[in-house]
Symmetry: C2
DNA sequence: CTTGAAAAGAACTGCCT
DNA sequence: AGGCAGTTCTTTTCAAG
């Protein structure tokens, strides 16, 4: 799909604030409300805008610890990949499972109430999964999300 | 803040679909439209709902490659941390910068048009940053985001 | 908590340039 | 592609039980 400068300006504005009305957005860009709305709808139908996701504050819900795991599988048959994905996806504390190429096979984002709670999840639920080999852990200190080149 | 079962049901529903109206959501939960609206507003004011974020499809915008970097700094003074964060945050291809505790100091999510483009970013922009030591890379194959325990 | 109503605003449609 | 006008839906506030 081809994006002109106006489309990029719309994506840039919506990336900063996804909760603004089409009329307000149009005013900023010197566009009418229906024109703005039609462009957004076109971007949605083209799949460029995949949707809007709710951002939950894990800390205010009592989950103070976020840990990134690098997981290497011991046995990597096709079956074991799917078994592992199904099993780790069933753990409530697991937020994202990323299948990756490199030193590790999977990157997993886990949240827990505190470090003691995380140790429980790691020992009782993750280390016992089928096919798990080496596991590396990184505790999140701070995180910054940037606009990226997508809207530029 | 204290959440009852209805609050959790609202979070669960909105996590699945952030674009549904308060009246439709209320119907599912057996709640009136104003009651649903008041609960959502209360969750927003309490900071539990941090906002809504636009999801952009990087592939449809020509960015077919996502790479996770683990970065170890060579020198870790307070100044060098801030210098590094400022410098890597200024690279357009960098989407998230996470300061972590463990084998690496930072986890960085980078997108690029293809692997050749990623190599350019890695060699020209990232490896040349101040204080960068070891760098480990994992190429994303597939990704799954789960609802997690936040809404349960 | 509920229902009902009313006002404001946002989204959507059709027509025209 | 864009604007204008009108319709429909949602959000928001209010009154009352």
């Amino acid at each position: 799909m081809t994006l002109d400068e106006t489309d990029r300006a719309i994506l840039r504005a919506l990336a900063q604030n996804a909760d603004q009305s089409t009329s307000r957005l149009g005013q900023k860009l010197g566009l009418s409300q229906p024109a703005t709305w039609r462009r957004i709808k076109r971007l949605q139908e083209a799949g460029v805008i995949a949707g809007r996701r709710l951002m939950l504050d894990s800390a205010s819900l009592g989950f103070g610890v976020t840990v990134f795991l690098g997981v290497k599988l011991a046995t990597k048959g096709r079956v074991s990949l799917e078994d592992f994905e199904r099993a780790i996806g069933a753990i409530p504390e697991v937020q994202t499972v990323e299948h990756v190429l490199g030193l590790y096979d999977y990157r997993v984002r886990v949240i827990a109430r505190d470090l003691a709670d995380f140790e429980r999840v790691l020992r009782r639920r993750i280390m016992t999964l089928p096919g798990v080999g080496d596991v590396e852990a990184n505790v999140l200190l701070s995180e910054e999300r940037l606009s990226g080149p997508l809207e530029q």
